[in-house]
């Protein structure tokens, strides 16, 4: 557990966006890991299997906390207030800016882009996890990438030319 905890905690944090909630999600994920260990036959890589369990635990957590609603909202209409402060620190590295930009995304966009672009989960699997269609996942992914690109490089190249 000591060897994997930081990976598990980081993934949970990137999805739920709160340190204390991420700890709760990590604990829940480990309960699931130990329950499922006997059934783990090694067809998948252990790391991939673990990432799936954490993603599942994080989404279940958001549902339980009543934040699952955010996952099904139309993300075009929401923009969290912190997003405006993302580029204020001139000393921040691109990675810091990106991490903060990610944290400022609505849950519906953040969950999708984290699972796909950070952890490489297939569209289909993300759709099943979120209880939505692959098409909806692709639309959110597109929006999330565009917002992140704008946070990193400015909005000079918006889609609307």
């Amino acid at each position: 557990m000591r060897r994997t905890y930081r990976h598990v905690y980081t993934q949970a944090l990137r999805i739920v966006g709160d340190r204390h909630e991420a700890e709760d999600v990590a604990q829940e994920a480990y309960v699931r890991v130990f329950r499922g260990l006997a059934g783990f036959r090694g067809e998948a890589q252990f790391e991939t299997w673990l990432y799936r369990i954490v993603a599942n635990a994080a989404i279940t957590y958001l549902r339980r906390k009543g934040r699952f609603g955010e996952l099904s909202l139309d993300p075009e209409d929401e923009r969290e207030e912190v997003a405006a402060d993302v580029r204020v620190d001139e000393q921040a590295t691109d990675r810091d800016v990106l991490s903060r930009a990610l944290a400022s995304l609505p849950v519906s966009l953040r969950a999708v882009v984290v699972l796909k672009d950070v952890y490489g989960m297939p569209h289909k699997e993300i759709a099943e996890l979120l209880g939505t269609t692959e098409g909806a996942v692709k639309v959110r992914l597109h929006r999330a990438r565009r917002r992140l690109k704008e946070e990193l490089f400015g909005s000079e190249g918006r889609d609307e030319v």
Partner: protein
């Protein structure tokens, strides 16, 4: 294709999935602005994938709290390790062999001692 048609497709292009990739590529060949925009998307995605190894620092004592939540985990973990870790498995098998050997040796000695006592009492008579 015109720039305004290409721009909405660039995020998907950067992700390697686009039904109109050939047309977009065609346009990119003659449009520096759209090529630069695709480069920005690609750089964003490259940084996103690098986040996987950019680990956050958990709150102090988080691992211990997780372990304390289910104390039996340690034993399950040890049992699992014994199953998958060759060194632990061989150590467990060796230890088991030593115990079995010691018990067998003890039993043989005990039986021999009993036989000696029996011979001493009966004087070797059957």
């Amino acid at each position: 294709m015109k720039c305004e048609e290409v721009r909405p497709l660039l995020a998907d292009m950067a992700g390697g999935v686009s039904d109109r990739a050939a047309e977009v590529e065609d346009h990119l060949g003659s449009c520096a602005a759209c090529s630069a925009e695709l480069g920005r998307y690609r750089a964003t995605m490259l940084q996103l994938s690098a986040l996987r190894e950019d680990l956050a620092e958990p709150p102090a004592g988080a691992v211990e709290r997780a372990l304390a939540q289910v104390p039996a985990w340690r034993w399950r973990l040890l049992a699992r390790r014994a199953m998958v870790d060759e060194r632990v498995r061989y150590a467990a098998l060796s230890l088991g062999g030593v115990v079995v050997g010691a018990v067998a040796f003890g039993l043989i000695r005990r039986r021999a001692a009993r036989r000696d006592v029996s011979v001493a009492i009966t004087g070797g008579r059957a």
